[in-house]
């Protein structure tokens, strides 16, 4: 319960935070929305995302999604024009604290949007916790961001790393696999996804026999693929994303492992790369909170608008960026109902009530309450891929997920 209380408190802070963005402090809340917003200076939005390197395409997709959400609102949020600040974080954790300091201290942005790489996320968490700047993270799933290192101004429109692989335990069990090998990049995201999978799989009685790591962002897998062949596990589970994912799928095929040892992964293994890999992606099963086969009105509308605007098919990253934009826009709008809910929360201390405000934000991803579902996405083409397994360790880090899914 304590965690949930914390979560409820944080969300209030968030709404308060976005209210402040809209320029309305306590006094402002009493004014009609339009007049309060009309006089405001531009809203400074800092985008800190990877625009170079392995995750460059992810950064671009998130930016597109976010800007689409803003465009749909006439290029304004809460009635305010937007001034953009962009930093290429290069997916380099070493530069993260300095890069985000630039946005916060030099550019004095009102809100930071970013990023992809979990290591960079931790650098941002450090600085943004101290500065208190509103932060919406549209991807990077570092568990600590919404766990030990969390702060009231932190929000995420994506996932915690463990969640993306935890549900695979059930999938593998259902397929009759008793042991598995996990292969990934050696950094926070890979390690946390490995831990998430291990926990989920062991709960189902499976055994993770070997953990194999490649330094990020290298893509030379040959020695490790040979190692996998020599271990002969029932299944292989992988986390790679972007260009690395495409390379891994192709190498897996070239090493003759495809079809011999079934391959599973978090959805990043296939999302946005299927076109590039051809038949190397066939038969790969993944779990994720979103897949392009999601059959909801909201998603269809989003996909159509995105494809029209950017002449590109959206992927999970675009969705998360779009939802980040929606979330930021929704903050001010929800303001009026806020006090009432807050009062109710103060009486009830119930986690269910805390989650109420979220329903108002009509996010693309995961429109269905996800508890206990086993997401399975065949060949990345997901028949039911958009469901999220919310069961898992202690509900840590689920703050924004609550907002998004309940």
């Amino acid at each position: 319960m304590k965690k949930n209380d914390q979560a409820g408190y944080d969300r209030r802070e968030f709404l308060r935070g976005t209210t402040a963005i809209a320029g309305a402090a306590v006094a402002g809340a009493l004014l009609p929305i339009g007049t309060a917003f009309a006089q405001q200076a531009k809203l400074k939005v800092g985008l800190m995302l990877p625009y170079t390197g392995t995750y460059a395409q992810l950064g671009v997709a998130i930016t597109n999604g976010f800007k689409l959400a803003v465009e749909e609102r006439g290029g304004k949020l809460g009635g305010r024009e937007i001034e953009w600040f962009t930093v290429d974080d290069e997916s380099n954790p070493a530069k993260a604290p300095e890069n985000v300091s630039k946005l916060v201290q030099r550019d004095k942005v009102d809100v930071v949007i970013g990023t992809v790489h979990s290591g960079v996320v931790m650098g941002m968490a450090k600085v943004l916790k101290e500065s208190g700047t509103l932060w919406i993270n549209p991807n990077g799933g570092a568990g600590a961001m919404t766990g030990a290192a969390c702060a009231p101004n932190f929000f995420r429109t994506s996932f915690s790393n463990w969640q993306t692989t935890h549900a695979l335990g059930k999938v593998l069990k259902a397929k009759g696999h008793k042991n598995a090998v996990f292969i990934t990049w050696k950094y926070a995201a890979g390690e946390e996804m490995m831990e998430g999978f291990k926990e989920g799989f062991e709960k189902e009685g499976g055994k993770l026999t070997k953990e194999l790591f490649v330094p990020f962002p290298q893509v030379e897998f040959q020695a490790l693929l040979t190692e996998i062949a020599s271990i002969k596990p029932d299944a292989v589970v992988a986390f790679f994303a972007g260009g690395g994912a495409a390379k891994f799928l192709k190498d897996y095929q070239a090493a003759g492992l495809k079809g011999k040892i079934p391959l599973y992964g978090s959805g990043f293994l296939t999302d946005g790369v299927l076109d590039a890999v051809g038949d190397a992606g066939e038969g790969v099963e993944t779990t994720l909170h979103y897949a392009d086969g999601l059959d909801t009105k909201k998603d269809k509308a989003f996909r159509l608008a995105y494809a029209k605007t950017f002449k590109l098919q959206p992927d999970v990253y675009a969705v998360q960026g779009y939802d980040a934009g929606q979330l930021l826009a929704a903050g001010p709008r929800r303001r009026q109902g806020q006090h009432r809910r807050q009062a109710r929360h103060d009486q009830g201390h119930g986690s269910g009530q805390d989650r109420q405000p979220a329903r108002a934000v009509d996010l693309v991803q995961g429109a269905q309450p996800g508890a206990g579902h086993v997401p399975a996405q065949g060949g990345g083409q997901g028949e039911q891929g958009a469901r999220r397994g919310l069961e898992g360790p202690g509900g840590s880090g689920a703050r924004l997920q609550d907002l998004a899914f309940l």
């Binding site: 962009t86 290429d88 380099n92 954790p93 070493a94 530069k95 993260a96 604290p97 300095e98 300091s101 630039k102 201290q105 030099r106 979990s118 290591g119 931790m122 650098g123 450090k126 600085v127 290192a149 050696k186 950094y187 926070a188 390690e191 330094p215 990020f216």
Partner: protein, 329 residues
């Protein structure tokens, strides 16, 4: 006031101005200046090797990074570590590491020395990069910055950016004075002698190896001070701080400023970091700001080709003085 007196007073004047800076601006530009001063300590420590001892180390970031990691490992999760003992501890760790590596690397000369120093730095890089010791490739965080207490009274709280700035400035000045004294002593002159002609000094009966080792250890310790401070500034360490890029960057600062002149190292770090900041400023250079390294690279090449004495050499040329015989010919 005659010119030599002016030259004597100038450093104090600059120091005074720097000390007053936080009163003018205490956010981004003070942070930037803090970084410059930290790098100045780092660059001076390398100048002791490159400019005064004739040892071109391409792995000096090892000591810088090691101190940072020492602090990160000593910091208890959510409490402040005491500055009283954590800084000396970091220095001692670096001094010991420099002493041990120095005994090995000083067996080699020339290109081999450059490569072996690099190898040791890379080794340390992978110790922190590949093991969980310091958070792997993502690095580790120091959540609460060190503080200095005397009984119940808090003398220095590094969470306060101004106080941290002044501490850095103080340590930079102290490092400068220390090196100045050391180089002015007979020890310093012996080092220069070794740089110019190692064999002659050996023939004269100087224990060349021991002198070099002492210089190497001192340089490593001072780099440790800089590394400690750098880790405090962002509350963060990452293997990148001991990568060869970092070793390369600090070498650039030393040469850009002018080797063999302590103030050159300070000028070099100012110039290098400010240049980086200016060239990557989107407001001024628009889309080209992204490609700031292009201009930086060309500039570095020009310095290598046409300005071997660095900015300090340029200043001396303007004043019509002969350039001191510090850089290699």
């Amino acid at each position: 006031m005659n010119s030599s007196r002016f030259a004597q007073l100038l450093p104090w004047f600059v120091l005074g101005l720097l000390a007053l800076f936080p009163l003018v601006e205490n956010t981004f530009y003070m942070q930037l200046l803090t970084k410059v001063l930290i790098m100045a300590i780092f660059a001076m420590s390398l100048d002791l090797l490159v400019g005064y001892t004739g040892l071109v180390s391409f792995g000096h970031a090892a000591y810088f990074g090691l101190a940072g990691y020492t602090l990160a490992l000593m910091s208890p999760g959510y409490e402040a570590v005491s500055l009283w003992w954590s800084l000396p501890a970091a220095i001692v760790v670096c001094a010991l590491f420099a002493l041990i590596t120095g005994m090995l690397v000083l067996r080699t000369r020339g290109i081999y020395f450059i490569m072996v120093t690099l190898a040791f730095a890379q080794m340390l890089f992978f110790v922190f990069h590949d093991t969980k010791l310091g958070g792997g490739s993502d690095g580790a965080y120091i959540y609460v910055k060190p503080s200095m207490r005397l009984g119940d009274f808090e003398l220095v709280n590094l969470e306060k950016a101004e106080q941290f700035y002044w501490l850095v400035l103080f340590l930079m000045a102290a490092a400068y004075l220390l090196l100045h004294r050391v180089l002015d002593s007979s020890f310093g002159r012996a080092l220069l002698g070794i740089k110019v002609n190692e064999h002659r000094m050996r023939a004269l009966g100087f224990p060349v190896f021991r002198y070099q080792l002492a210089s190497f250890t001192l340089a490593g310790s001072l780099a440790g001070i800089a590394g400690y401070l750098a880790a405090v500034q962002y509350g963060f360490v990452n293997p990148e701080i001991l990568s060869w890029h970092q070793s390369g960057a600090v070498l650039m600062m030393v040469i850009l400023g002018g080797m063999g002149t302590l103030y050159g190292a300070v000028i070099g770090s100012f110039a290098f970091i400010l240049l980086q900041e200016v060239l990557s400023n989107q407001a001024w250079f628009g889309a080209w700001a992204k490609h700031w390294q292009l201009a930086m690279g060309i500039l570095i090449m020009l310095v290598a080709l046409y300005l071997p004495q660095g900015l300090a050499g340029l200043a001396q040329k303007f004043r019509g003085k002969p350039v001191p015989e510090s850089a290699d010919d």
